[in-house]
Symmetry: C2
């Protein structure tokens, strides 16, 4: 190739813009032209912040935008907003936009993000049913809240009990709605073991949420005006002024698939650890649209999370600009809160450990977040999963009051490093009465499970 190469990036959010920014950091405009095609009008926004904007905890839409198209342009990245990539010709090396424009590339980075799960339910497309995916969704829900009846307590139904579902439940309650969470699963937070999910369910009910479990929504009911007015399950019919979808997120890889790019078993674009397509060497992908791998098992995984998207984009950008880099995989670490309850998980839960072929062991302990005598000490439960024979930590789960959630990072680091429960129990974790009892809950859990291992 003579002259400068061109990198075309499809998707201007976390994965795409991290890649673009990193490539630009390492190569200037004379060596590499960078063109981003973004279907919406925003770049680099925090989808994770949308519930908090709806909950009035975040002042404005703009607060959720880390970097605008203009700011990217200033750094030498060309951004075409409102430009939806329609087709990719992998042989010709071109991307065709919905408006017919064609963009030639030397290197392509696909960052088309995630696709909210939408089961084939009658009425799901009715007005009054909202996703929580793009900033426009947040704006629509905010507008809908402003239009709610004021002569009675308005009702919301949240479909799904993953972290988006729980966060939406929290903020809708904050905004004065009577919130029901309707789950197809037996418990909220499906990536927790059942005993830990049960704690979440009990706490949510105590906080005033109605939780309907084991009830798939069969139909979204609509009123005379065509708007959603409730849902029907096999067990009942529930009214709602507002229906919100929090059913999880799969990879949005349809464009890539249509183009003929290799797709993995999870439905995400099949890339190696350098974020390069395994089927087309000049194509990279990053973010919620890719298939990644589990750091502990090496198995394919799909986890939609801004942190991974950022890291993967950075890796792709480095590699595209000629600097070696690898994405080291995921543990499925997740953290959220609902009301005053904090919930974290990392690594393998029991069913995942079983599926991965581990002979595993679990222990749960209950403790407090601070010294028992210190004001604000709240309950915390920590569950650990270890490999029976070696004592190696496979995963951890935390449910508790303020300060509980971030403890998951200690477990995430320990699992990542391959520590045994015994090593973690012996490790020098901090102690001061405002922060933990003499033994932190994490250390207690590690000690209990290593003692159990000893028999």
């Amino acid at each position: 190739m003579t002259g400068r190469a061109r990198l075309v990036v499809i998707g201007g959010d976390a994965g795409g813009m991290s890649a673009a920014a990193q490539a630009r950091r390492l190569q200037d405009g004379d060596a590499l032209e960078i063109v981003v095609l973004e279907q919406g009008r925003d770049t680099s926004f925090s989808a994770c912040g949308i519930p908090y904007w709806i909950g009035d905890l975040v002042g404005s839409r703009e607060d959720l935008i880390a970097r605008t198209p203009a700011e990217h342009e200033k750094r030498g990245i060309t951004v075409h907003t409102g430009t939806r990539a329609q087709a990719v010709d992998l042989d010709a090396g071109t991307v065709t936009a919905a408006d017919g424009r064609r963009f030639d590339y030397d290197t392509l980075l696909i960052a088309t993000g995630g696709r909210p799960t939408r089961p084939p339910i009658t009425g799901l497309d009715a007005p009054g049913v909202y996703g929580v995916h793009r900033l426009d969704d947040g704006a629509a829900i905010r507008a809908a809240i402003d239009e709610l009846p004021t002569d009675r307590t308005p009702k919301a139904i949240v479909m799904g009990g993953g972290y988006i579902g729980l966060e939406m439940a929290e903020v809708l309650q904050t905004r004065g709605l009577d919130v029901s969470v309707v789950l197809a699963d037996p418990l909220p937070m499906g990536l927790l073991d059942a005993d830990m999910g049960e704690r979440v369910c009990v706490a949510m009910r105590a906080m005033g949420f109605t939780v309907h479990t084991d009830q798939a929504v069969r139909e979204v009911l609509t009123g005379a005006d065509g708007r959603a007015c409730g849902v029907r399950t096999d067990e009942g019919t529930y009214d709602a002024d507002l229906v919100v979808l929090g059913l999880g997120m799969g990879p949005e890889a349809r464009l890539a698939e249509r183009a003929g790019l290799g797709i993995g078993v999870t439905g995400g674009i099949d890339v190696d650890a350098t974020m390069r397509s395994r089927t087309h060497a000049n194509v990279f992908a990053a973010g919620d649209c890719v298939q990644t791998y589990h750091q502990l098992t090496g198995e394919p995984a799909h986890v939609a999370l801004g942190t991974h998207a950022n890291k993967q984009g950075r890796v792709a950008g480095s590699v595209i600009a000629g600097r070696p880099a690898r994405f080291a995989g995921v543990l499925g670490t997740a953290l959220t809160k609902v009301g005053t309850l904090e919930i974290g998980r990392t690594g393998l839960c029991t069913s995942q450990a079983d599926a991965a072929g581990f002979d595993s062991r679990t222990e749960v302990i209950e403790a407090t977040t601070r010294a028992g005598y210190y004001p604000g000490a709240e309950d915390i439960a920590v569950k650990l999963v270890t490999e029976s024979a070696s004592g190696r930590l496979l995963g951890g789960q935390v449910v508790g009051g303020q300060g509980a959630g971030k403890r998951i990072d200690v477990l995430a680091a320990a699992v990542w490093a391959g520590m045994t429960a015994d090593e973690l129990a012996g490790s020098d974790l901090s102690y001061a009465p405002p922060f933990s009892p003499t033994y932190d809950a994490v250390a207690v859990a590690a000690r209990v499970i290593s003692r159990a291992e000893r028999g």
Copy 2:
């Protein structure tokens, strides 16, 4: 030995009672008699909680007692309170109390705790000068606060800027005193690097504390009534209604030393990893009176902390009862808060890394404790120390607002496990807007220092 053996424990606090309880758990009364000699009237109390009792955050003295002598007795441990061990005859295997009683032992466990540092300063023994070591100290300070003048703002001087000093400064301010902290050192929190200690100093001044640095107290001034009324340094004379000592804690090993037990270079009782005396095989020691070792360097260390005392006592109790156990060393992890500022450290700071012969590298980053747009996001600074060649994490320091402090545990686990900064940067730490920006501050620090290493 025929019949049952007798374990005598000197000291009924964390180290001693953990050992006694663990030995009792593993061996019943027919096999092992356990006799504890405690000079005071309490057992198993939280010395770390004393400042918070003084600050009225803890309701009563009793709240700080985890287990009373009667509760220990119920579990088959004989406790002699008010019984001060005066001498140990290592050849005869006897302990003589101050009141003349003699206790024969087969195995001895020494848990005489720590000794507050008291420099040879005129007036230090005057009434109105208080240590913060035993519950009686707390009661004395509480009584003194009740007697303070009410027609003006009373003044307190805290000598020392370690964690006890800072905690006392906080609670005395809470109780309405005008607090000055007087330091012989250039900065508070001497186990932080100077740039991090500077952050603490600046924050303390902003919170209304007077901080006199680089000024050793030469004399405690006393009034006509003989009570302390201020201190004199080379730079000035400062009034006080109350003088509190927070100058750190050395090992209280005088009894052991007089008996002829081996003492280490730190002044603590010289024990191996099973907490057994290196010079006398039937003598164990645990808690603030022992010399332990640094997990990373293997060098002798002395760290007075309830967590270590508990763990060491448990190890000693196990070994005494015939079950193998080892104490795995310390990283010097410490966590405290002063007002709204949280301060944590683990592993080696720069000067310690130098002293240990590491070619080290440091980086400091500034971030926020939550997503920048989320309410309550506060500043956090994270400093990392790595070995230059390998990138291995040697230590970390954290200073920041609510939620900052406990992040030190992620670093403590990572240092303990021997992770490199690059590994930590790649690890799957949690993200959700109420808990961190997309990259947690710890991950940002790890990434920055590994990039720096790459050159």
